[in-house]
Amino acid sequence: MTTGDAGGESGRSRSEEERGEAGEGQRGRSAAEWTTLAVSIVLILGLLALVTYVSMTGGDDLPIVEARPLPAEMRHEGESYYLPVEVTNRGGRTAEEVVVEAELAGRDGSSEASEFTLDFLAGGETREGTAVFTADPSEGELTIDVASFQSS
């Protein structure tokens, strides 16, 4: 009896479905539906074109990470000097956990180190970090190095 019920249920839904398909075949599709469909197809083709473009041009090269200070944008707040450092990945693949170390050797022989980490640096991407010193970086000898990064 239970199976009979289940069979009746699915039979009903199937006939409903067939009716839906037949009805739709007759009514055709509205301009609105064609427009949405056309816009959707254009969007998807656009995506495929962009992905193809990126795969063709953007190389699969390993990351090449470079850091350079931006002394013109340095700020002096209280006791500290904030020196922005621009980090660029010239390669194609993403570099993760990019560690940048900055060292400042004062003329009086003192030395100070600063370090920051960027989580992600995609191929071709440029991001900024800030090195903080207590002495004025423009007065001493500054070295900025990319210490390490991970890549897959």
Partner: protein, 287 residues
């Protein structure tokens, strides 16, 4: 049903279908939109793998649209299902671009490859969510609560208000609680400037409206009079309640401390306000 759709015109019906797709997409995808690993995968994974993933999502959408209870339109023929699969992917792509832009995950000048990766990977859950919209909202957009209509007739305006009020809060808690304790909230809040915060409010309101609408306004089933009973007031009230839920969740999970700058607290509430609003608007479906 057919007559009503005939009167509202084919553009109105198509808009309704697309709104239902968007609503289903966001209800399903919001937790993943607020997952930083998803942003990272978009940057690190190879594009062809992500495209393959989107292709699988398209097939799933097609299969779900073929079934009686899936999809976001009211048809199950092969062509209509294909159409829904294509539209679903497009809804996912556009939705992903908008949300990632508003949350400041992508911006002009970012490398194209990483932007594409993030968009494609977030389009997948949005697309699958669109494909289950009918299962969430019911195929005709009526509220899927059983016996709602007979209950509704006996409801006074005050009872209807209390029911919607409670539904919104419970729905908002549903989504906000799973996101409130995570680090995504402060991370997103930290990078949210004024323009992005405004855009976030607008997007939250639009999504609330879309879900309120998809969940059955305009079907003539909901005719009680009460403060929640017009789509616009319902949207604004639901959003404000959702912000309140976001605020309380963040406080309960100890994400605030005394003396935190007010601006940071406000942006965190706004950031969590989007999932809370999506959940709150969808709340009336689960209660």
């Amino acid at each position: 049903m057919q007559q009503r759709q005939g009167r509202s015109g084919s553009w109105g019906k198509e808009l309704q279908d697309i709104l239902r797709a968007v609503s289903g997409g966001f209800i399903f995808a919001t937790p993943l939109l607020y997952t930083m690993e998803m942003w990272w995968i978009g940057t690190t994974a190879e594009l062809w793998k992500l495209l393959l993933f989107l292709g699988v999502a398209t097939l799933i959408t097609f299969a779900l649209a073929r079934s009686r209870s899936g999809g976001f339109k009211n048809e199950t023929s092969r062509f209509a299902s294909l159409e829904q699969a294509v539209d679903g992917v497009a809804v996912g792509l556009v939705g992903a671009v908008i949300v990632l832009t508003v949350l400041n995950r992508i911006e002009l000048g970012d490398p194209l490859g990483s932007v594409l990766g993030k968009v494609i990977v977030q389009a997948v859950p949005l697309c699958i969510g669109a494909a289950v919209a009918n299962a969430i909202f019911g195929p005709h957009g009526e509220r899927s609560r059983a016996g709602e209509e007979s209950e509704g007739e006996g409801q006074s305006a005050r009872e209807a208000f209390v029911a919607d009020f409670g539904a919104t809060i419970i729905g908002a808690i549903f989504l906000a609680f799973s996101i409130a304790p995570t680090d995504e909230v402060p991370t997103l809040a930290a990078e949210l400037d004024y323009a992005h915060a405004l855009a976030l409010i607008v997007l939250s309101l639009l999504l609330t409206y879309s879900i309120v609408f998809a969940s059955g306004f305009g079907t003539g089933q909901h005719e009680q009079q009460g403060p929640f009973q017009s789509p616009l007031t319902e949207t604004v009230l639901a959003y404000l309640l959702s912000l309140l839920v976001a605020l309380v969740s963040l406080a309960l999970f100890d994400r605030f401390e005394w003396g935190d700058p007010l601006g940071e607290m406000v942006t965190m509430v706004l950031v969590l306000g989007l999932p809370a609003a999506v959940g709150g608007a969808a709340g009336r479906l689960v209660v």
